[in-house]
């Protein structure tokens, strides 16, 4: 399959200019010598950390220690009373964060697997960064679930492990499905992260000394780059890329069933599965854009690998996903509203006009209005600043969306005598802790893992070339795999 990418300013008389333009714009048409490119990636990873780096580590580390360490300790020792959960909002920000982080983790797989399967060439430099997002995000989601539990120290009871009392988890419970789905997703996405990493680890092994050499030697599991190894690797990656897509869809569908399978007004909606998936992609894409922009802005040599064209491509995806999200949201909303159930109506009214009505309104603005207004323009899309601000806003909006679904919807039930607002307490620190840990993982990983799948970039560059058809200069891609 070949993708054609036409330039709108191609003229026969300034070939030279056109070619410059293409090179500047497209990474795939701007090849550098392999060794130099490898060195650039290695330099980005192994350069001596600056004081800014350490400061970031210290700040994030302290937030993690306070938020995830101390606050979680208090939560376990003193009980959930120090959080804001109550009757009827038995689930609070913990579950908001779980859904949120699982959502974030979706973009990694989406970018990496779906774009790989569909051979979207722009994906090449940032699949790794996205895949890391999956793993790191899932870790936060897992933490959030365990924080949420009243007796977290007994959480292993949810695992189907052999025991003398022959007790199994209850497989009727959506939470059991959830646990299985998340575990499967975490394992498969970690493996899927690891496979394309092997050639880069081998490259890093060959180019480093000291502890790094040992570190990469172990991780590279003896990859030499022989034809046989490449064939096997491609084969495995292909299988995983196809296999992980249904896993990804299933995970968030199953997460949505935690809500959809319940008898609560507002939750009991059949469209929640696809609605949650599109929501996950919405926040995930936004997060991917933000991470890319930060990586490009803070790490060495990244302006070469990550260019406007990538933000442009992600921006298009964001726009389409935003439209999809809007479609599903209103689909869900209108059917629930039309159903006319008195409790559901009360809930929808509460969403819009209740004390958190501002949240509902801003969710719609940042999830729909802002992307639609901004992302039409390719110039704005290509700007890392603009796209990452939109990405952050979308993430805030999606977090709001989950907040409206979990504690706000829980405030309203079929027993009006118990309706009550949820006021978060220690959850705030724990949430900040997960956020800081997520960033900290990236900060640390940036010094340990080659962020750019350099072999994929090189492969892409080999496959791309500029050709002339008549007066038209076009990009052609040859099939390599």
């Amino acid at each position: 399959m070949a993708e054609k990418n036409k330039s709108q300013a191609a003229h026969a008389h300034d070939d030279q200019h056109t070619q410059e333009h293409f090179r500047e714009k497209h990474l795939m048409l701007d090849p550098l010598p392999r060794g130099q490119m490898n060195d650039m990636v290695m330099e980005a990873m192994t350069s001596k950390p600056t004081w800014k780096y350490w400061l970031t580590v210290i700040i994030l580390g302290s937030i993690v220690l306070y938020g995830l360490g101390y606050s979680w300790y208090r939560l376990i020792v003193e009980g959930l009373g120090i959080a804001g959960v109550n009757r009827p909002s038995y689930w609070g920000i913990f579950l908001v964060n779980t859904v949120f982080w699982i959502g974030i983790s979706h973009a990694g797989t989406f970018i990496s697997a779906i774009l790989r399967v569909f051979k979207a060439e722009f994906r090449r430099p940032f699949t790794r960064i996205a895949e890391l997002m999956t793993t790191f995000g899932l870790v936060q989601a897992g933490f959030s679930i365990f924080m949420h539990m009243g007796r977290a120290w007994l959480s292993y009871w949810l695992m189907p492990y052999p025991n003398e009392r022959l007790l199994w988890p209850n497989f009727h419970s959506p939470l059991s499905w959830d646990l299985l789905a998340i575990t499967t997703y975490l394992l498969s996405s970690t493996m899927y992260l690891f496979l394309p990493l092997i050639p880069d680890l081998a490259m890093a092994r060959d180019k480093s000394t000291g502890w790094r050499k040992t570190f990469y030697r172990i991780l590279a599991i003896g990859f030499r780059g022989t034809e046989g190894e490449w064939t096997h690797l491609r084969h495995a990656m292909n299988i995983f890329a196809y296999a992980i897509i249904p896993v990804m869809f299933s995970v968030h569908t199953i997460v949505s069933w935690d809500f959809a399978a319940a008898t609560r007004p507002g939750w009991n909606s059949t469209i929640y599965g696809p609605y949650f998936i599109i929501g996950a992609l919405h926040s995930g894409m936004g997060a991917a854009a933000v991470v890319l922009a930060v990586v490009r802005g803070t790490m060495k040599n990244m302006t070469y690998f990550i260019r406007g064209e990538h933000f442009d491509a992600i921006g298009k995806l964001m726009l389409i996903i935003s439209m999809g999200w809007a479609y599903f949201y209103f689909n869900d909303y209108i059917v629930q509203w039309y159903g006319g159930d008195k409790w559901t109506k009360a809930l929808l009214h509460f969403h819009e006009a209740g004390p958190l009505g501002w949240m509902w309104l801003s969710m719609l603005i940042v999830n729909i209005a802002i992307p639609w207004a901004v992302l039409w323009n390719s110039k704005w899309r290509s700007n890392p600043w603009i796209i990452s601000i939109v990405g952050i806003l979308i993430n805030v909006g999606m977090w709001f969306e989950r907040y409206l679904i979990v504690p706000v919807s829980l405030s309203i039930n079929r027993m009006p005598f118990t309706w009550r607002l949820y006021i978060p307490a220690v959850e705030v620190y724990l949430s900040l802790g997960t956020l800081a840990l997520f960033i900290l993982f990236y900060v640390i990983a940036s010094k340990l893992i080659p962020f750019i799948p350099v072999w994929e970039v090189q492969e892409g560059q080999l496959a791309h070339k500029l050709s002339k058809f008549g007066r038209e200069t076009v990009v052609t891609v040859s099939e390599l795999e």
Binding site: A346, H349, F350, E352, A353, G354, P355, G357, S411, M415, P416, F417, T418, W419, R420, L421
Partner: protein, 742 residues
Amino acid sequence: MSKNFSRRDFLKLAGVGATTTAILTGCGPASRYVKREPYMQMPEYTYNGQSTYYATTCRECAAGCGLVVRTMQGRAIKTEGNANHPLNLGKTCARGQATLHGLYNPNRVRGPIKHTRGERLYAFDEDPFNGDFPDVAANLSWDDATQVIADALTKYKPNEIAFLMGAAPDHLFDFVTDFTSATGLNAPIRFGALSMFEARATLSKAAENLFGETGLPFFDIGGAEIVLSFGANFLETWLSPLPYTRGFTGLREGKTKQRGYFVQFESRMSQTGGKADEWIPIRPGTEALVALALGRLAFERRGGALPRAFADVNPKEAAEKAGVEFETLERLAVLFADKAGALAIPGGAALGQSNGLEVAEAVLALNAIPDNFGKRGGVYLSALAPTETEYHRPASPKEMEEFTAKLASGEIKALFVHGVNPLFELPKALNFKAALDKVEQVISFATFPDETAVEADYIFPDHHGLESWGYQRVFTGSAQAILSGAQPVVSPFYDTRATVDLLLAAAQLVGGKFAGAVPFKDEVEFIQSKTAPLKNEANGFFSAVDLPTFNASFQQYGGWWKTESAFGAPNTEDVLNRDFDGAEPEFNGEGEFYLVPFVSPTLAEAGANKPWLQELADPTTTVMWSTWVEINPETAEELHIDNEDVVKIISEFGAVEAAVYKYPAIRPDTIAMPFGQGHTAYGRYAEGRGANPADLFSAEYNQAGDILFGGLKVKIEKTGKKLAIPRLESMMGVYGEGLGEE
């Protein structure tokens, strides 16, 4: 351990271990308490894993309900109503349930204490739910305590010694009565805040005026078909709430008749009013007028000559003054006139007005229309308890004022206080604190470190009700004459002593006429001397061949009662042959709001130290753990006051602060406050919580001697502060607050 450790050594070591254990368990300070006993040495009546049940009497209020307490290995586990007991037939109220939180309250007086007035009796800080707040340790022995009392008895002249006791007509009251009458001491005075808020003096005075004999009326709600209640809160704390609640069930679902109709006239919807089919918010002060108007209209409906009582009233004018539709009065009068079982009940704040006596009389007189006196569904005179010859009511607030004046004048030099907490229960206006300061020696027998104990020189704690012997006369609520028996269901948890025993010991120590006045070995002997005559009385529900059997049965059944009804039929000749002027009462104060103080149905006067009572949702507002002031939402809006705004309520005699509860069922010109909180001592769960509306009362009385708690007009001022009042209900779900505008 060396491998040469022989079997012999092992036995030696084991022997030492066993001896040590035996000494520790045997000689512990609380070895009397059964729980510390090793399993193998349990008393014969205690089986491991099996409960033992003891019948006794509830001491949470003066009504005298029978309890059966489940105990296990020396601990009281659960109170249930005594199903045999004719007063409560196996039921209890919430306070009866929570009596165990009194027994095992973390703040009890643990032994005899010599104490400087005003000093704390337990440690305390703002958060009673964390930390340990130990009580002040006992610093006297009981021998010292006996000596102190003996000294007081000898040091002061008989007329310088006074006893102030709780409202319950119990064995201690009898003992002290006997003791004082034989020795020339001042006769004991009984008082309780509940009897003050019931205006019991007014009620019994009205009955006396109408029927010509003393006694407390009983209203047979269960047999009635229509009940008009003028503020009587008979489902809450009024007189004897359990029989009245049972009566209410009878009213609603009588097996042989239609569902009874219930109308409540009051300016603030009480828990009782909330159950009414019609709730009519008449203007405070017009209760007598409305009753008379209803009487006239009902009489006109029935035909015949209008009696003197209803002749002067103009129903239309009355309706206008009361703020009721005249048609409503007409309709109710028709109902009242036509139904066979019609009943009118006076009560509540209306009796605590300057015309309270007339209100009570006018409402009682309404019962002459169906002529239900002494009939099913009508008005009876309460049965006198066994061993009682005439109705003896607790002191009215007016009598308490006289008593206070005696204290203040220095006439009384030694005061013994038992079963009542006058510093909390008496309105501040009576200035009991200042009077107490004039008393040379104040001895409190308080079980709990209450406000009065804090101001006492000595605290010689009596047992908790569940740890003590006794009996109590049931003063109303049952057709049968009941003497409710009490026995300890657990061994005393602390180093407390029965007050009767202590007084006996002191009398022995003094000797002379004191020892001769009460020639008993101990409390139990005294009680049995009082109950012994019942053995020979006819119609007892159990019979005994000899006294020990009688005493055992008395203990086992939880008292003694007759099998036949002892209700008195009032003499009703002159009921309607009197004049009522129907004049409106004087209200004290310049404020724009009528104040309706009501007793918290869950806490009552002494429940505030029991944490589960504090956490029970108030039946009307669902508020927990605090005091609130009820204001009509429209009034609140006019004054720009919102829920949980703290307002200052000012009468001419005092001011209190409380957070606002916008209460939809109160007259716009009325505000209401619960009584029960506002303690400055009384244990960690009570202290520093809420406010006491009795601080607003004036020391003025109606003709029967009841304080004018219902006759106040108050001002409210905003303070700008906010105070969360915990409520069980959802403000969103119940009031639509915070749900957003439509």
